[in-house]
């Protein structure tokens, strides 16, 4: 785990959280660096959204603590939940006015909204999911956030707005060195945005790696032969013609011990293999 980050903007120590009797987050310890973009993935119900909600202050943990860098005020933390919660009975105009007053924003950046071509007198509840995500992001961008928490929303936005959304995130990172922690399953759309990937499994992290390091550590073998037990197989996909084996951790020199070709794979496939591996483990 990447727990040794110096001067973290956000530290989570021994965090536990329960919903009723069910343990959702189990002794989580992580640090986040200023300006990094982190992708959190994992099976449904792993606790990803709960973690984000705890960081955002929507949920209060049962034990442990969440500490922000002392220079980060609560006004500089933005959160878009999967519910995209806003005061729905407000018009866009009223919502902006309210947000600006509460966060002390003098100049609201409406450039994103202009590209949507929506009326400011419209009620928030009448926006489409994509419009709403962009609207919400506009509010947060105007805060000039130092930490931005984005729950699983990207996949519900149409391709045009998705691109707009991601472009804005990149601008944010460039302009304000914002730390972005996002949950997403549509990895192919994410491009090179994430620098760090974390995978959760039932309340704790099973993986926390830089993207580059991770792509070096996960390889795929496609073969019609059976693999012997000497390789660390994370997940395998079988078909009548050939089998796919996902190897983790891959170490240099493995090729020389076998005749297999170790293929590089994309981030989205790596994450899928981890999730698939979880279900395979559960089946066995």
């Amino acid at each position: 785990m990447n727990n040794t980050t110096d001067n973290p903007i956000l530290s989570i120590n021994d965090l536990c959280f329960q919903a009723g009797k069910k343990k959702i987050l189990d002794h989580i310890d992580i640090r986040f660096k200023r300006g990094e973009t982190v992708l959190i993935a994992g099976i449904n119900g792993a606790g990803k959204s709960s973690l984000l909600r705890c960081i955002a202050g929507v949920y209060l943990p049962d034990s442990g603590n969440i500490t922000f860098d002392k220079n980060v005020s609560k006004k500089k933390i933005g959160f878009i939940s999967d519910k995209m919660s806003l005061f729905e009975n407000y018009t866009l105009e009223e919502g902006i006015r309210f947000h600006c007053r509460v966060y002390g924003i003098e100049n609201f950046d409406d450039s994103l909204l202009k590209r949507l071509n929506i009326k400011m007198t419209q009620k928030i509840k009448d926006l489409s999911n994509g419009e709403r995500a962009i609207y919400h992001l506009s509010l947060l961008i105007s805060q000039k956030p130092e930490i931005l928490l984005i729950d699983e929303i990207i996949h519900i936005i149409d391709p045009y707005l998705r691109e707009l959304f991601l472009e804005s995130l990149i601008e944010l990172i460039e302009e304000y060195n914002t730390t972005i922690i996002m949950i997403n399953h549509t990895f192919s759309e994410m491009g090179r945005l994430p620098e760090r990937v974390m995978i959760m499994e039932t309340g704790s992290f099973i993986l926390d790696e830089k993207v580059e390091a991770l792509t070096d550590k996960v390889k795929k073998i496609v073969t019609d032969k059976e693999l012997d037990g000497s390789f660390p197989v994370l997940f395998e996909k079988r078909s009548p013609v050939y089998n796919e084996y996902y190897i983790y951790p891959y170490k240099k020199g493995m090729e020389s011990k076998s005749n297999f070709e170790f293929q590089d794979i994309e981030l989205s496939e790596i994450i899928k293999s981890f999730i698939g591996g979880y279900y395979a483990k559960k089946r066995n």
């Binding site: 955002a56 005061f87 009975n89 509460v102």
Partner: protein, 619 residues
Amino acid sequence: MLRKETNEVLKQSMLLAPGVLAGTFLTWIGASIAKVDLSFGEMFFPIFQVGLLFMALFMGISLFMSETKNGGMEYLLTLPYTRLRLLWIKLFPRIVALIALFLIYYLALGAVGNNDMLILPVTFLLFSYISLFAIGISFSSFRGNLILSVLLAIVTFFVFLYGEGLVFWIAYMLKSDLMEFTVRLPFSSLGFPWYSLIIALAMLSTLIISYLYAFKTFDLKISRKLIKKFMKVFIPSVLVVMSLSVAGIYMIIDLPNGGMYFLTKGNLVLKDNYYSSMKVYDRDSEREIKYYDLNLFHCVEKDNYIYASSGYKNTRIFHIVRMNTTNLDIDVLYTAEPKAWIFSQISVYKGTLAFIEYFRGESVSNLVLLNLETKKYKKINITSGFNLDHPEIFGAGTLENQNFWAVYSTHRRLGKVVIAKEDGTQYEVKLDSLNVPLYVNGMFILFKAEAIEIGNITETGFQLVKQISFKGRLMLYRSLFNWDMNQPPVKEIFLNSMESGDPWERKKYRLDLQTYDFHEIKDLSNTYGYFKKSIDGTWFYIEVPFVRDSKNPTISIYKMNEGKPMLVKKIDMLYKDGKWDAYSDWVHEFETGLIVKNNGKLHVYRFPDLNEIEFKELE
């Protein structure tokens, strides 16, 4: 954020005006249908009070309603405020609005200047107002079903009220030597001694402090954590406050000197104290009666005995006892069944004591006929059919050499008379009478909506002898007579009638039972008062000015002579703090005379001359 909350609160507050006006309008419709004459203020202010209470509850319970309804709860919780700051921003405009609404109410009431239009005293209203708001707030965090939350909050409010009453009850129980069920709860009568308010507020503060403490854990979930945390502080703190309050009340209270009085034919005053042993006073001394507490409100005096129902020691079982007025010996004539109650009037006719023994929630009561000589009794089952209203004996007589008792029961204006004979047979007649009928001079007198009917009741029904047209609300009760039903023929009866809708304004009428002449007595003013037939058959009218409006509180007693009132006594009531104390001064009338409490002192006036008899120890 404050602006958002202020706008929300303004919108909510605006609901009060149409709500109260609609309520007033509905009351007006109801009053019109029921033909009750109410002024606008009499309809408007009670509805305003109820509206205020609902508004307080609603403002508390809807603290997070708009966010929950509009999906903004998560957004709200991410705003850059601490939980307590968030709560304060939510509460501040609501508190200001509630204060403003209460002031509007208070000023409007002041402008009208008539406190009689209230259904709740202002102190109690204010306390309820604050309590309902606080309880509402504590239910708002659970964000469940609104209607369910409102119902639960109302239940909690009553639990809270009874909790406060319980504190007094325990303290009084510890101090008093009486059986438990005779202890009155000060709270239940809406009377607020100063320390009662302090205790209520202290109990309320435990609720508020617990909530503030628990609110730190307020988050998106309907949190068990919050409830647990709330309960962890609330239960011990409220128990501590209640225990300290019991100890405090125990130390500071003197048991109130309240009780029921009875003036006997032989000039004894009996007093059944609410909180301590019963006492009997003669002119020079007092004697204590241990273990018994005679119900003097429903007793009857015959020869040298007082007959009454009574408890004995700390038991709930009712007894029928008789007290010898010479030596004050008490002997038990009858012990009721363990689940039975004897609360209604006891009457005596010839050698038989008659009373009703009823069972809570059951529609069958017993008419018990007790032979005073042999002490043997006979029970006759009376099926009232209405278990809400208990049957009562209103007459006794003899027909075909057999004694009978007339029993009346009523429920929502439907009434019936059961004629029960001493051989156990009975028959019933359905009646349309607004009040309990009278049985005088061997005739039944019914008070109908538009007539007085005099006649006989036989197995075939009511046989009309005379009908007198009259529209009014005549008020005449058997208690104006003697419960010793061995009476010589009565020449006349006098009645009060409430006709204007003002309960304190009454017209007076005389009904001649020989000629059936019925006319208004115009020589008497329409002020509040009542008639009483004295032991020698003379009627008196006791005029009691309604205390709140009275500038010259004088009790005037008139002797009725051939229907003409003759003033025989005036008793000037003392002022206390500039006015007559409506709650501690009173007049109790008996067939033997009057007992008047005036500025804390008791005075006994004896019929027929109404001279004062001094009792040295009476209090």
